[in-house]
Symmetry: C2
């Protein structure tokens, strides 16, 4: 999350030398009233996001002081990640989906590993397998629900796979029930409490990771723009809040993250709105970004070509009354021409800069609760995957709800698809009823 | 859950005198390796389902030995519950919905109270309010999603409520986000770990209680029979397994519940199948039970009148080959006439007697993990509400998935309802496309 650090405070200078990557943790070494689950001792067994630096980089940077070395590593890997992200987007929707899946699995692994360390279950039979089994089951359910609409036509052609489509929910439920029964049978008297705690831990992890990455996939299918813009907004907000905090940060924002400042929060917010609008404007021009992904039967593959919806066509808007003094001063027109999508971009950037950071506060509170530094050590200088994606999940849910509420009010295409899945006689029946109703309302000639 | 107690084992006689209601607990007083969360000490603060007996009954039964007294109380309240259940069914679908809601709230309260006791958060600011806030929010979301289809017509008439229907998901999401931000802001340094644990606890409780009671309501709307038959099956399986276990129980079934026996499990299973079929047969004859509940605009209220679907009309089935020796012996017909619903009743009774008990094992494992006797003490002789409903939730999910997979494969009525929610020009467009498609496939004359 955003690291809008407070640096210009007088003490900062004195501590600079000692401040290494560990600074995230320092401020709450005080013992917590958590005697029951001995977190201090726990800290030794938990993944601590060690400074896992590639050999090559490490030796190349050996001349630098530790503080700068870490900055360089962090910077390099930030650019590497952004580059990889662009490459994946270039790879198309299926590459993106695969990436979301991999990220999801890594995040799940990180959360579950913390659970193992917290409850110190090491020799317990079946537990690791069970967690992964639940991950696979819930993915099967959610990805199935997602992809069904797109691939049903293809899958239905293969007779032996047909029942997977027709009875998808039932199959998923059976898979889950197998896991449930397996859990009950794996209960061992001495470990009841730990087993139930980990069972709950697994389910919360699934709730956070699987359901939300399912929403991300849905967003991708609405058009790449619904995925790229929100993801970039979170990144922009992170980076800009850090920059503003670094240069102007003075007023602490929240006790939970002592290094975040109001200046960073506000500066980051405005930058996100501005850059978000610019970015949306640029992306609205390319069909590759704005077209929903659909399975094209003629081509036999996924396609992203379409007549862009009105959201992505320039429209003229009358300025709101309270802004109409501006045209009279500057002799502008009373109207403004822009893509309707840009208004939605505005909502998204406001959410990502006002509520988004709370995803980060939540994650950092969680890390403090269990006295861990990072969720993992996969990305040198950044920590675990989960450390980078904490806010993305919150944002994805927002975008998904936003689309279903404001953009996607029942599409005729989707409904038609469902109609075509009915039996022929039901289709006819529906047709007749619709015809009657349209005629009664005078929308259709009764000829 | 089923108390298929093993009684005929020789030791049973000796301990009878001492065996009071506490017998559920006795067998694992051994200390568990849960030193971190001191469950033994915990047990003192947790609700222990005290023998909360009404004054009147208590004095009337004062002459009886404790053991019998408890039996009488338990019996009386079993009949009272069954009677209340019948009364509520007589009250119609709205009374049932209200009951499901009340049961849900009580179950949530019981689970949450255990959480409070486990993490001993008493003076922590906001925590109780937050849990209830999340309960209200998720109910608002789920009940809204449910009732929307039925009440949208009514609500849409009131202009000021219209946005609640149109933007239901968005409103729910905002409510949730308020709770989320509230949680982050309520974090207090000394309690991080406990707060996060309770946050997870609350969410797991919501997952179990709210989502599943939402499924129950959906089942009710499919027709009362989809609610009454499964609920009764669980009750029948409980009672019959207890009876069979009492008279024939010898072979222990599972370590988790030492008093359950294979004899009870099997006897209960067969009784459930048999009585379930009988019950389904009886109920298939009444429209009140088989008609889906729909809002009748002409009447201005919910109605349960319809032309019963083919599930509830007698059909002739040819006997499967492996059973055809029977007609030749007994000179029966080669076919059997019955309601198709009875086949579904068979699936449900098999689930409720094979998998259902695992819901009970799960709950009893949970109670043991936290060294509690019952979830609460609302129902004299039975414990908490959750003690009676543990398996009902699992069963409701099964029935719901079963309906969507096997019964409800996209109904033309529901789709048509959605079509009518489109804008008129979209309806026309859909109509034209459907017409073209039907004509192309030769299903409709191109006149």
């Amino acid at each position: 999350m955003a690291e809008l650090r407070k640096r210009n405070v007088p003490e900062a200078a004195a501590t600079t030398a000692a401040a290494t990557k560990d600074e995230d943790q320092k401020e709450d070494v005080e013992s917590e009233d958590d005697a029951k689950l001995d977190v201090d001792e726990l800290a030794k067994t938990l993944p601590q996001g060690t400074d896992h630096t590639p050999e090559l980089l490490s030796s190349a940077l050996s001349g630098l002081p530790d503080r700068w070395k870490n900055w360089v590593i962090r910077g390099i890997f930030t650019f590497l990640m952004i580059g990889t992200f662009c490459l994946i987007i270039y790879g198309g929707p299926l590459a993106l989906m695969a990436t979301v899946l991999i990220v999801q699995v890594k995040c799940f692994e990180e959360i579950i590993n913390i659970g193992y360390a917290v409850y110190r279950i090491h020799g317990l039979p079946w537990f690791r397998s069970l967690s992964w089994y639940f991950l696979i089951t819930s993915n099967y359910f959610f990805y199935g629900e997602n992809l069904m609409d797109y691939f049903a036509v293809v899958i239905n052609r293969m007779e032996y796979l047909r029942f997977l489509v027709t009875y998808h929910r039932f199959v998923s439920f059976c898979l889950y029930i197998i896991g449930f029964v397996w859990f009950v049978l794996s209960l061992v008297k001495k470990y009841y409490m730990k087993q139930f705690s980990l069972f709950a831990w697994t389910h919360v992890a699934l709730l956070i990771v699987v359901t939300q990455s399912y929403l991300i996939i849905q967003n991708i299918f609405e058009g790449l723009i619904w995925f790229i813009v929100p993801v970039s907004m979170i990144v922009i907000n992170d980076v800009m809040a850090y920059v503003f905090g670094f240069f102007f940060g003075r007023t602490p924002l929240i006790k939970l993250s002592p290094k975040k400042t109001w200046e960073g929060f506000i500066g980051g917010g405005f930058s996100t709105v501005g850059l978000g609008l610019l970015m949306s404007y640029a992306m609205c021009q390319y069909r590759y970004f704005v077209c929903p992904i659909e399975y094209n039967e003629a081509l036999g593959r996924m396609s992203m070509d379409c007549e862009p919806s009105y959201l992505f066509k320039p429209q003229e808007y009358t300025l709101p009354t309270f802004l109409q003094f501006m045209p009279s001063i500057f002799k502008w027109k009373n109207t403004i021409t822009m893509y309707p999508f840009m208004l939605h971009s505005l909502s998204m950037s406001i959410f990502s800069s006002v509520i988004g950071p709370f995803g980060g506060f939540f994650a950092s509170g969680f890390k403090r609760a269990f006295k861990i530094k990072d969720f993992g050590d996969v990305i040198p200088g950044h920590g675990g995957i989960m450390d980078r994606f904490d806010c993305q999940y919150l944002m994805a849910t927002f975008v998904n709800v936003y689309i279903t509420s404001f953009i996607h009010t029942a599409s005729p295409q989707k409904l038609l698809q469902q109609v075509f899945n009915l039996k022929p006689e039901q289709q006819l029946q529906l047709f007749q009823t619709l015809q009657d109703s349209l005629q009664n309302r005078g929308l259709l000639n009764a000829s």
